[in-house]
Symmetry: C2
Subunit: 358 residues, 2 copies
């Protein structure tokens, strides 16, 4: 993996360092920035100024904001722009935006001329702690999210936590769900930090944000560095995602945001862990408590049927050989991956659904 190591630069107000950082990479020449209009309006000028100050010129390509840009259609649009600009293998693609931009631009970069360099500049919390690190790229298929994708490591990740101040609260809160996940799967100290400093984080205290982004990115990089292609260890990153993805699917990716769905999935996974004798009820309570303090749900919302969730999980790509795979906690900081009987999952889910708020 050493040949695929790459710098992850995290800081406060560090966006203007982009130009100098690119100069430290070998032979950066032509640059194409891929972004969405709201992000580009906010940070485009600063990014261009930084690039120009280091002697780079860049083209900008924007795609629509939101999940709909992660389509074969907009992918094709990006290819057209790269071809039009006569980009050769020396081109560097900069993904400036949230997870959608990172996934789309990353996929385009991984397949244009069989792979050109991509630099991730994530501007949401979830992209900074999760999506921008690890090399997963994807576009959606009408029948499912991320069905088409590649593994393509970035040459550099630059995460400026100061940009998080402009995020809608709901997006910040959603990103914190992934940070809770890192605490449960790998780091009791991070979990405790979240318990103690939730208010500072929700108030966008930059020192606190920087601390959790650094720690989360380090965990993610460590896990994927030891298992790039999801053969084993990497699957622990799916904690909360088995049910979480199903919740997103049955609600059409609108009503429940990704982080919220993951929070619900973690709340469920902990309960499933108790049922299977892997952990104690105290873990459920402690995790529920933290999720609530952050403003995340720990129960299924009304109007979602357990049968819909079961059938969505059955079609999820985390199914192997027809059994349902779950990441289950043993304690805060340690999880295991288990194939769980469908009947057992259904019983646990029915109990979980019965417990939802009126």
């Amino acid at each position: 993996m050493s040949d695929r190591a790459y710098p992850i630069v995290i800081g406060r107000h560090c966006l203007p360092r982009l130009g100098r950082l690119l100069k430290s990479l070998a032979a950066v020449r032509r640059i194409v920035i891929v972004s969405a209009p709201p992000v580009y309006r906010r940070y485009g000028r600063a990014i261009l100024a930084s690039l120009n100050a280091s002697g780079f010129e860049a083209r900008v390509v924007t795609v629509p904001d939101g999940e709909r840009a992660k389509s074969l259609r907009w992918l094709s649009y990006l290819y057209d722009r790269l071809v039009e600009a006569r980009c050769d293998r020396d081109v560097t693609v900069i993904a400036l935006g949230g997870g959608v931009i990172g996934d789309l631009a990353g996929f385009a970069a991984s397949t244009y001329l069989r792979g050109v360099r991509v630099v991730q500049v994530p501007t949401t919390l979830v992209a900074q702690v999760d999506a921008s690190i690890g090399g997963k790229t994807a576009v959606n298929h009408p029948n499912g999210k991320n069905l088409i994708g590649t593994f393509h490591q970035p040459a550099l990740v630059l995460a400026d936590v100061a940009v998080l101040r402009t995020l809608p609260t709901r997006d910040l809160v959603g990103g914190l769900a992934e940070v809770v996940k890192y605490g449960v799967i790998a780091d009791p100290a991070l979990f405790q930090y979240l318990e103690r400093h939730a208010p500072r984080l929700l108030a966008c205290d930059l020192a606190a944000l920087e601390r959790i982004v650094v720690r989360s990115a380090a965990i993610k990089a460590d896990v994927v560095g030891r298992d790039e292609r999801e053969g084993g260890l990497r699957r622990i990153l799916n904690y909360g995602h088995t049910l979480g993805h199903a919740v997103e699917t049955v609600t059409g990716y609108r009503r429940v945001h990704h982080g919220e769905a993951i929070a619900i999935g973690m709340a469920f996974a902990a309960r499933l862990g108790v049922r299977l004798g892997l952990c104690g009820w105290n873990l459920v309570e402690r995790q529920d408590g933290l999720l609530r303090r952050i403003g995340l749900p720990a129960r299924l919302p009304q109007g979602i049927s357990t049968s819909g969730l079961m059938s969505s999980m059955a079609h999820d790509k985390k199914v192997r050989g027809g059994r349902l795979h779950f990441v289950l906690p043993r304690r805060v900081g340690a999880v295991v991956v288990r194939a769980v009987d469908t009947a057992e999952v259904r019983r646990a889910l029915t109990a979980f659904a019965a417990d939802r708020p009126g």
Copy 2:
């Protein structure tokens, strides 16, 4: 690279072994065969019988015959069929056909769920000796061939030289151009074998075909095994391709077939090598002689302007930093990669064009 080693099975009448070979791979379950109608009509029944005899069931997806299938549109069609069949990560895609099918099915397999297994069953000579080995996949962009692609090694390659008997002569001859290439870049004995046995090969003698396919596949596998991603050594496989691709581009990929274009490209590269003092004129004559014996061109056809070729080469992805890269022979069996001055290339090309048949 050892984790990416894969068996390349070459034989006469070995198609019926496919089922048993798949059983030797770990955990093959669902199978999707991607093919084109003419190929599938001829070999589909035998393939299915072989799979069924080993207890496998398979779906079949056909795409139009020819280069036009290598498009984002038909790629999207393949994704739809994979999703429709609810294929999960256990699916094995079998590419049954020539280079177009191998490239398209390989690209789909490399990106569906971020990569599923592909088995290459090449049915043309050029696919057997070149396209099926080495993991390059691609689709075309309206502005250029293979502009979008990945590296994705097959799990198995099964090449039955008996299927070559049904090829149009022009396709067989075109495939032999790649075999000549292997001789020049790596194997004087193979080159000599071609000189001696051209008539047997053109008559589809299976023993002779098997011999050159085995030797060519071994050379290709050896080169890409030592350099999967074209950083250095792999570029020698582009012998004849710098001008060859330009010839294909300016003739719209119709009038001059790929193998013919490569033959013209090799004839030119040898002359450029003489100009640069890398080899003697005797190499030009010997290579021209072999190309003619096989029925391949060693001169530019009428109606192609040198300026069109120059500008096409300038936009080719083999350009790095604006200079033209050529693979040039030192002697039969040894080549070097050189960045050549554009002015020098133009002079050589003008002389080459002046020498064409009336």
